[in-house]
C-alpha cells in the first residue's frame, strides 16, 4: 500500500518548505537554518500530514486500508520511514 504511505508522506512537503527557506536565506542546506525556520517547517509538515490524513478519512480511503489490515499507526510508521528515506536522498543531493 505504498500509494497510501506516499500520500501521508506528503509530510515531506514540510521538508521541502525547509529547503525553500534555505534557498531564500542563502544557506546551503536545511541543517544550517535558524531554529525558527526549522520549527515553522516542522509545523507545516505536521499540518500537511494532518490535512492529508483527514482527507483520506473523509473519502473512506482509510476504511479501504483498514479492510486490508492496515492500522493508522502502521500507515504513519511506513510514511515516516518513507519520509526519512527521502530526507536522506535530499540531503545527499544537497551535499553534492
Amino acid at each position: 500500500m505504498l500509494w497510501a504511505c506516499f500520500r501521508v508522506a506528503a509530510v515531506f512537503g514540510g521538508y521541502e518548505v525547509l529547503v525553500l527557506f534555505a534557498d531564500l536565506e542563502g544557506t546551503a542546506r536545511p541543517s544550517a537554518l535558524p531554529m525558527g525556520s526549522v520549527r515553522l517547517g516542522a509545523a507545516l509538515a505536521f499540518l500537511v500530514a494532518g490535512v492529508t490524513l483527514a482527507e483520506m478519512a473523509r473519502r473512506s480511503e482509510l476504511l479501504f486500508l483498514a479492510n486490508l489490515g492496515w492500522s493508522k499507526g502502521r500507515l504513519a510508521a511506513t510514511a515516516l520511514a518513507i519520509c526519512l528515506g527521502l530526507e536522506v536522498c535530499v540531503q545527499l543531493i544537497l551535499v553534492w
Binding site: W3, L63, F64, A66, N67, L68, G69, S71
Partner: protein
C-alpha cells in the same frame, strides 16, 4: 474454531452521539452461509450498529465477538485479519486509484486466486482501467462487491449495498450476495430495498427505537404484524 454458531456477533450495543442515544441495546450477528438483513426506518441505527460491528465505531456499551471471542475494543484492521470485510454505505473505493489497482491491493494482501472469478461474476472486466472517481453509482457498487468477492472474506458486512441502484443492478448485486453466502461467507446487509432484500435473505433483524428484534425468516417477517404495521406499511404486498 470455537463452538459459537456466529462468525461475528455484536451484542448489547449502546451508542450515544452527544445527547442523542442512537442505540440503547442492539444486536446483530453473522452466520456462515447465511444472509442476515437489518431492516428499519431511517435513523433507527442500522448504520451505527453495522459500524460498531465492523470496529469502525467504538460502542459505549456492548461487545463485538468473532467466533465467540470478544475483541475489546474491536478495530476494523484487526477484524480484517480475522476475515471480516466491511463495505460502508457510499462504497469502498479510493477515488484516485483505478479499479485494477484496487484488485491488485486485494490480491497482494489476500492472494489473487478469487480475483478472476469475482471480476467475471460482477461483470467489471471493462472497468479495470478506469479510476474509481469516474465510475457511476451502479458501477461503484458492483466493483465494491467484486472486491469483497475477490478478498474471499469469512464475514461480509455490507451497509446498504443496493441503495440508489437501478432494479437490474439491484438484482445482480443481490445474486452476488447470495453467491457469497453459498460459498460459506457470513453476510450481513441492510437497506430499504425490501422486496429484493427479503428475496435474498435467510434471516431478518428489525432495527427500531434503538434496539433490535430478531424476526426470523423473510416469510415470518412478512407475517409479523408489528413489523408489517410499523416498517413495511399497510400498502406492502406479500411476495
Amino acid at each position: 474454531m470455537s463452538g459459537s454458531p456466529y462468525a461475528l456477533r455484536a451484542e448489547g450495543v449502546r451508542k450515544v452521539f452527544g445527547s442523542n442515544e442512537v442505540l440503547t441495546s442492539a444486536s446483530v450477528w453473522a452466520k456462515s452461509g447465511c444472509v442476515t438483513t437489518l431492516l428499519g426506518r431511517n435513523g433507527s441505527g442500522k448504520t451505527t450498529l453495522l459500524r460498531v460491528a465492523a470496529g469502525v465505531l467504538r460502542p459505549d456499551q456492548g461487545v463485538v465477538a468473532v467466533d465467540g471471542v470478544a475483541l475489546v475494543p474491536a478495530k476494523l484492521h484487526e477484524l480484517a485479519t480475522r476475515g471480516v470485510m466491511f463495505l460502508p454505505q457510499g462504497r469502498l473505493l479510493v477515488p484516485s486509484l483505478s479499479v485494477a489497482e484496487h484488485f491488485r491491493a486485494i490480491a497482494t494482501t489476500f492472494g489473487g486466486s478469487h480475483v478472476d472469478e469475482a471480476v467475471d461474476a460482477a461483470g467489471v472486466e471493462s472497468l479495470m482501467p478506469q479510476r474509481a472517481e469516474t465510475l457511476s453509482g451502479g458501477e461503484k457498487a458492483r466493483v465494491s462487491l467484486a472486491l469483497a468477492m475477490a478478498r474471499a472474506p469469512r464475514v461480509l458486512l455490507a451497509d446498504e449495498p443496493l441503495v440508489g441502484l437501478a432494479p437490474v443492478d439491484q438484482e445482480r448485486l443481490g445474486q452476488l450476495l447470495r453467491l457469497l453466502a453459498a460459498q460459506g461467507v457470513a453476510v450481513v446487509t441492510s437497506g430499504h430495498d425490501t422486496p429484493i432484500l427479503l428475496s435474498i435473505s435467510d434471516e431478518i433483524i428489525w432495527s427500531a427505537a434503538g434496539t433490535t428484534h430478531h424476526i426470523g425468516s423473510p416469510e415470518a417477517a412478512q407475517k409479523h404484524d408489528q413489523f408489517r404495521r410499523e416498517y413495511l406499511g399497510p400498502g406492502y404486498r406479500m411476495s
